[in-house]
Amino acid sequence: MPEKRKEVIIIGAGAAGMEAAGQLARADYKVTVFEKEPKTGGHVKDWYHLFPDSRDSGEVIEYLDKQLDHKNIILRTGTVVENIKKNDGTFVVRTSDGGEISSDAVIVATGFDLFRSERKEEYGYGIYDNVITSSDLEAMFRKNEIKRHDDRIPEKIGFVHCVGSRDEKVSNLYCSKLCCVTAVKQAMEVKKHIENARVFCFYMDMRMGGALYEELYKESQERFGINYIRGKVSEVSENINNKLVVKVEDTLAGRPLKMELDMLVLMAGMEMSESGLKLAGASGLKTGENRFFSPADHHFGSNKSKIKGVFYAGACTAPLNITETISHARAAVADVIDYFRNPKS
């Protein structure tokens, strides 16, 4: 076939973008991947061990790096895509360095941002030294150093679920769905690091709807003695002994509960990325009430946008775990290939 080889632009080099790029490259399409950060790998690289099997995130990064390592792929890091314009059958993408490049299809894989926990001021992130986020804790795991700000080892640690999720006060009605299982995983990991630690999870509902999540939850109780208290934390303060005081209702006991803690971990939820939102605004892509990209159809078109030839992959459409993100990226590739073969349909 003398036909010109089709070209695809992918915006974002996290798990979704890297997987999609690899799949397309191996199917012999030319791919250009834009990444706003200097490094690829998105959020995966910030995590230490992954649920449900405690695998080192480095293994996933290694796999994703392999996907990108292909002669058909051009990677451009440190470059923000400002907008996508459709011109007849081709797409022109404008980048932050003033450049313009065209392609035959675009996959948007702009991912998510972690909720900025300081927005829940009543939980004291950025105010009290020993209030940290789930992401901060991963960094501590990686350094193999779980310490309070005063260098002491924390013995009593709390986890607050649903920080920035299921909360209309920060305009996020949706459930981020991965924070529950992350809290379970991190609680167990804390116990592995600090044997005599007492760990408490404050939850509204335990949403364990993924493969092996419930098993992990049970293991956390059986093997690690993690304590679960059902109630949404209303506020956190610090007392004269430099301990954190958490106020919550133990809804199952039906009484308010106060607890002193050495360290508190906020399970930050997932939000539509700021760069994704900007791109949506500048390119006429539809976003939902949850601010994530809204797919053309929730059942049959979760990778399709309203613009034919522009597709979505990964957590820019909704909170997704790594497995789901990779599957979603592959599905996006299938949609792109189908679009090339049947551009009219």
């Binding site: 299921r166 109630g231 949404k232 919550v248 209702e249 809804t251 009484r255 308010p256």
Partner: protein
């Protein structure tokens, strides 16, 4: 039919079918956000009254919905209407208005009875 003596123990069971849910309905009609409570207890955790007395707004909410009105009628005057519960509610329930409407409904019920 033979009577085996089985019945609903008022002390133990919620007689859902027999209970009067009109107070909850009265509130839902006027403050629809009342329907969206997920019983997280954030309101009760922050509640000034709840920290000193047996009062729990979360408990009031669920009792009203189950028609267990007697306890609520007895407790509801304890609320000082400070509105902290409304500030923390993750569902955006106008909890303060729920209390006001519950009191109003109980008042009306009382008047009708007289």
């Amino acid at each position: 039919m033979t009577n085996f003596g089985f019945t609903i123990l008022k002390e133990r069971h919620i007689d859902y079918d027999g209970n009067d849910k009109s107070i909850a309905e009265y509130i839902c009609e006027r403050e629809p956000s009342f329907r969206t409570c997920i019983e997280c207890g954030c309101c009760s955790a922050t509640c000034t009254t709840g920290n000193f007395t047996r009062f729990s707004l979360r408990e009031m909410n669920i009792l009203l919905k189950r028609g267990e009105n007697d306890i609520v009628r007895e407790q509801i005057s304890k609320c000082m209407l400070c509105g902290k519960c409304t500030l923390v509610c993750p569902r955006g329930v106008n909890t303060r208005n729920v209390i006001l409407l519950a009191r109003e409904a109980f008042q009306k019920q009382l008047k009708n009875a007289v």
